[in-house]
C-alpha cells in the first residue's frame, strides 16, 4: 500500500525518469489516437485531431512547467534536491493522468463531440443523450475524480520526497506554484495557437 501512495520512497532518479518518459510517450500516443490533449498541468481536454508532434509538445510543456515550479521551490526553500529526482518523480507522478485518458475512452466520444460541435445547443436532445449514457458518465466521472486525487497525492509525494519539506511555507509554495504552472500552460498554449 505504501508503494502505491508513497512510491518515491522506493523509486526515484534514473529509474523514475525512465518510467516517466514511457508514461509521457504513451500519453502522447493515446492522445493522438483519441484526440485527448494532455496539455494542462492539472487537467486534460477533448480536442480536435492534431499531429503526434503536438501531443509530444504538450508532454514537454507540462513536464517543463512542473519541473520549473519544483526547481523554483527548491531555490526558495534552499533544498539540496537533485534535478534528476525532480524530473523523474514528476514525470512518474503523471501516471494517473495517463490512466484518466484511458478511462475517458469509455465515453461515447464521437457522439459527444458531434453534440458539442452543434451550432444550436438543444437541451432536450442533450438530456436524452445524457440519460441514455448516464451510467457511463457516472462511472467515468467517479473514476476521473479518484484519479485526480491520486495525481495530486503523487505530485505532493514527489515534492515532499525531493525537497524534504512539509511545513506551511512549503505547502503554500506547492499550491501556489502548481496554480501558476497551470495558468502559464494556458497562456503558452494560447500563444502557440495564435
Amino acid at each position: 500500500m505504501n508503494k502505491l501512495f508513497k512510491p518515491f520512497e522506493y523509486i526515484a532518479g534514473t529509474r523514475a525518469l525512465l518510467i516517466g518518459l514511457a508514461i509521457a510517450a504513451l500519453s502522447a500516443i493515446i492522445g493522438h489516437l483519441t484526440n485527448i490533449r494532455f496539455d494542462g498541468v492539472l487537467d486534460l481536454h477533448f480536442g480536435n485531431p492534431k499531429p503526434i508532434s503536438v501531443h509530444l509538445l504538450d508532454q514537454v510543456l507540462v513536464l517543463g512547467l512542473l519541473t520549473g515550479a519544483f526547481v523554483l521551490a527548491k531555490v526558495i526553500l534552499k533544498s539540496n534536491a537533485r534535478l534528476l529526482d525532480i524530473v523523474g518523480t514528476i514525470s512518474m507522478a503523471r501516471l494517473p493522468m495517463l490512466a484518466a485518458g484511458v478511462v475517458m475512452l469509455l465515453l461515447p466520444n464521437e457522439e459527444l463531440r458531434a453534440l458539442m460541435d452543434k451550432d444550436q445547443f438543444d437541451l432536450q436532445s442533450n438530456m436524452a443523450f445524457i440519460e441514455e449514457h448516464l451510467a457511463v458518465f457516472i462511472i467515468v466521472g467517479l473514476a476521473l475524480l479518484l484519479l485526480m486525487v491520486y495525481y495530486f497525492q503523487l505530485l505532493w509525494q514527489a515534492y515532499k520526497t525531493c525537497l524534504n519539506r512539509t511545513d506551511g511555507k512549503a505547502v503554500a509554495l506547492f499550491i501556489g506554484l502548481l496554480l501558476a504552472a497551470e495558468i502559464l500552460s494556458k497562456i503558452i498554449l494560447m500563444l502557440l495557437a495564435s
Partner: protein, 96 residues
C-alpha cells in the same frame, strides 16, 4: 535475550545521562567519575544503526539506497533528519 541498550536520557526527567563507572571484564578494574556520553551514543538505536551502515557504505547514499531498498532522496532525507538531531544534541550540550 538481547543485550541491554545503553540509555542516553534520564527516564525520570529526560536530561542526558552521564557515565559514572566503567568496568573491565578482564581484570575487574573499575573507573569512577562523571563522563558525558558522546553525541553519537545519545542518538536513538535506529539512528545509530543508520550511521553505522552509512559508514560501512563508505558514506555513499547510493549504496545506502541499495542496502535499504529505498530511493536516493528518501535516504538523503533520513540522513538530513539524523544530522538535524545531532545538531540539536550539540546545541543542548553547549547550553548545559
Amino acid at each position: 535475550m538481547q543485550p541491554p541498550k545503553l540509555p542516553a536520557q534520564c527516564p525520570s526527567c529526560g536530561s542526558g545521562l552521564h557515565v559514572k563507572a566503567l568496568h573491565c571484564p578482564n581484570c575487574s578494574t573499575e573507573v569512577n567519575g562523571s563522563f558525558a556520553l558522546p553525541v553519537l551514543l545519545m542518538l536513538s538505536p535506529d539512528d545509530q544503526e543508520f550511521l553505522f551502515n552509512f559508514l560501512k557504505a563508505s558514506g555513499s547514499l547510493k549504496e545506502m539506497a541499495k542496502l535499504l531498498g529505498r530511493s536516493y532522496p528518501s535516504v538523503r532525507n533520513r540522513l538530513d533528519e539524523v544530522i538535524a538531531r545531532v545538531n540539536e544534541l550539540e546545541k543542548n550540550l553547549s547550553h548545559e
